[in-house]
């Protein structure tokens, strides 16, 4: 049983790290700020979500697991809002920000 849980964690966390890497590749390769922003917020939030999913079975109590989910939800909110704010600021000043 614990082997299955460990395997699940490894797969989920590995997938999360893959998305972090994908986000950074997008960050390095996309041509303009808005598309870089897209890569950053979408890929990194998904990456963190998968990492949290992988860590959920290993948490010590229900409260700790709920905190992990709350952390991911807050990072989603922050990422979405920051993307909107930065994107709007970039658009207002023209793409040559």
């Amino acid at each position: 049983m614990s082997l299955v849980v460990d395997l699940f964690s490894i797969v989920a966390i590995g997938a999360g790290v893959f998305f972090f890497l994908a986000g950074t590749v997008g960050l390095l390769r996309f041509p303009d700020p808005l598309s870089r922003l897209h890569a950053l917020t979408k890929a990194d939030n998904l990456g963190l979500g998968l990492v949290v999913l992988g860590l959920l079975p290993r948490s010590e109590s229900l409260l700790a697991a709920l905190k992990l989910v709350a952390i991911w939800a807050l990072v989603q909110l922050a990422g979405a809002t920051a993307a909107q704010l930065v994107g709007r600021a970039a658009r207002r000043k023209g793409t040559a920000l």
Partner: protein
């Protein structure tokens, strides 16, 4: 070399690299972002040093309060930078500053690395007497029980800082409210963020304060998170900064150190020593003092970020 050691070395190198970039960053805003990144990395370092309370403080203050303060200051300085009225240090002076900084850093590193393995420490005695204070977190015990006078003076310093910031206002603005007049309507995205974050943040702030008695946390961390929530609500223009001559504001600012001082004097009367707590009543007294400290910190930090009054006082 184990994975953990490699991780630590990588983290230390990253901290150095970000710090070096911040020093050479082009312009005030870039340096500010570098500073925020540096603060977040330092949180990780504190966790690795098993100083979780300090990591919590670094996270709350570095990204929440100080980050906002510096970004606002960088924006105000941008006008001066554009006008070209800034004179930077000459080359030889910069070199001298760099050499002095490196000397201080090397001296500190040498002292830390040459410490004996069992350095002089009061940690065993403080852990031994922990049950008498009723607390489970030794950091909180040091702050409010063993070293309470020092902590109270730190809060007095915060009050002085607010007075200093307010005194930067022009004479006719004294007592008025900080900040420009509210824009016609709040920026929608910021308003959304503030409306969702603020209730959650208040809950988290109170939780961090309350849990600080037995686990990492405490009054300063909880107060800093509450302060950050008020700051974002003000940034989203959902509420205006209060007038600086408001009685409730001034009372809230001094409440923390005042209650602290009264508790210390009461200790002299009832428990035989300045800042002594009566046995058995230590934990309730500590929590009582901490409640008012949280209030003061949550009010002082946003006032520091809001800045000096820029409007004439009404009435």
């Amino acid at each position: 070399m184990s994975v953990l050691q490699a991780l630590d070395i990588g983290l230390a190198f990253l901290v150095f690299a970000v710090a070096a970039w911040t020093i050479f960053a082009p312009g005030a805003f870039a340096a500010t972002v570098g500073y925020v990144v540096y603060g977040l990395l330092l949180s990780l370092v504190w966790i690795r040093l098993f100083a979780v309370d300090v990591a919590l403080t670094e996270a709350a203050i570095g990204s929440g309060v100080t980050g906002v303060l510096l970004i606002g200051a960088a924006a105000r300085l941008r006008a001066a930078e554009a006008a070209g009225s800034e004179r930077s240090l000459s080359g030889p002076s910069r070199l001298l500053v760099a050499v002095l900084c490196v000397l201080v850093a090397v001296a500190l590193a040498g002292v830390v690395l040459l410490l004996p393995d069992q350095g002089p420490s009061l940690a065993p005695q403080s852990m031994q007497h922990l049950p008498e204070t009723g607390l489970g977190n030794p950091v909180t015990a040091v702050l409010i029980a063993y070293r309470a006078f020092d902590t109270m003076l730190e809060k007095v310093v915060l009050v002085l800082a607010v007075v200093g910031v307010w005194s930067l206002a022009a004479d006719r603005y004294w007592g008025g409210a900080p900040g420009e007049v509210r824009a016609e309507r709040p920026e929608p995205t910021l308003a959304f963020l503030a409306q969702i974050l603020a209730p959650l943040g208040i809950l988290v702030g109170i939780h961090v304060f309350w849990v600080g008695a037995d686990a990492p946390g405490g009054a300063f961390q909880g107060g800093a998170i509450l302060a950050a929530m008020w700051i974002i609500v003000m940034m989203a223009r959902l509420t205006e900064a209060p007038q600086t001559n408001a009685f409730w504001l001034r009372l809230a600012i001094v409440a923390g150190p005042l209650v602290f001082l009264v508790a210390g004097v009461a200790g002299a009367i009832f428990a035989g020593g300045f800042f002594a707590y009566p046995p058995g009543l230590a934990k309730p007294a500590i929590l009582f003092i901490e409640t008012f400290m949280v209030l003061s910190i949550a009010v002082i930090l946003p006032m520091l970020v809001a800045g000096p009054p820029r409007r004439e006082p009404r009435q």
